[in-house]
Amino acid sequence: MKLRRTMLYVPGNNPNMVKDAHIYRSDSVMFDLEDSVSVREKDAARLLIFHALRCIDYETTETVVRINGLDTPFGRDDVEAMVRAQPDIIRLPKTETPEDIQMIDQKLTEVERQAGVEAGSIKLFAAIESARGVVNAYRIATSSERLVGIAFGAEDFVTNMHTSRSKPGTELFTARQEILLAARAAGLHAVDTVFADISDDEGFREEVGLIKNMGFDGKSVINPRQVGIVHSIYMPSVVEIKTARRIIRAIKRAEQEGSGVVAVNGKMIDKPVVDRARHTLDLAQASGIYLDEIEEEEING
């Protein structure tokens, strides 16, 4: 299963950060051609990311490019270039309607055909950053086969809502819920907004804990230092891993024996429980926990 616990922002016109973007082991790196690049440097950043994607091996890290909107003078050139550079995902900023997604989907299809790239090979992430986008979240989430996730962008959202960000994040609660519901109903990933104060580790931890409990798959991060913090919070505990393993073993045993009903520790095990157990083990593996060592510990008591 693909994990997207961390999507690390990388300014698109900074070669020093672009060349080493993957060494911090975030699940995804997101090269930004939009807000972090000045209007005068859009051409330079586009060419830099175009060549970087074609020559640097980012290994297993998922590559995402945040392009400029198609309603700007830069968005169409970004698509022309990126289809040929082939990142895994294009992230569309400020998505407000399903038509925004359909328009980029069509443009991608057109350029894929011209470039001889497999149709539909580039996936999409929609960033929702306004009240209108939140209200349309489910329609956006179901607007294209290319979509794999929705990201929440809170900075523009709070401006649009005539407010500002607070520590408890009450002003974001409904938007986060709407985005999560839309993503889950459409079978997509949901990635939470950035936490801008990189010196406030405690506040960051609290926010990551909150969005993990809400159900987000991960968070956009702006500093490599934040990657490890998010991964540690998403790392399952030994107890959770042991329980998950017991559930998976019980299911396998039941399948072999042709038994329909399965119970672990006196509790009925059904599909959602099994799905959660599998997710826990995937997270454990991605967190570098050696499942064999836990098994040994279990056997030896």
Partner: protein, 97 residues
């Protein structure tokens, strides 16, 4: 590609390169290279710059390269940007890059 004015791209930050191109008064290619890794990679960088000029069919250029240990792909991106800017070209042929 013909240069109609000076085109510049890049920065002097680490891992970047600052490149400036303009048409050569004697209609030839001349490369002035400064690099913190000139001893080891000077010839390689110069060949890379010449190859890119060749690919982009530039036959008259005075190229100033101030390199801060940039990767080849960064040098390529910055030189192409400088050339497009110097030629005043805004429509790119991505399939040829």
């Amino acid at each position: 590609m013909e240069l109609i004015h000076t085109g510049k791209a890049g920065t002097l930050e680490s891992s970047d390169v600052l490149i400036s191109v303009k048409t050569h008064p004697e209609n030839k290619i001349e490369i002035k290279l400064k690099s913190i890794v000139e001893k080891r990679f000077g010839r390689h960088i110069e060949k890379l710059v010449r190859d890119i000029l060749d690919e982009m069919q530039v036959s008259s250029a005075l190229v100033d390269v101030d390199d801060r240990s940039a990767l080849d792909c960064v040098i390529r991106a910055r030189l192409e940007t400088a050339l497009y800017r110097g030629a005043g070209v805004q429509t790119y042929h991505w399939e040829e890059l």
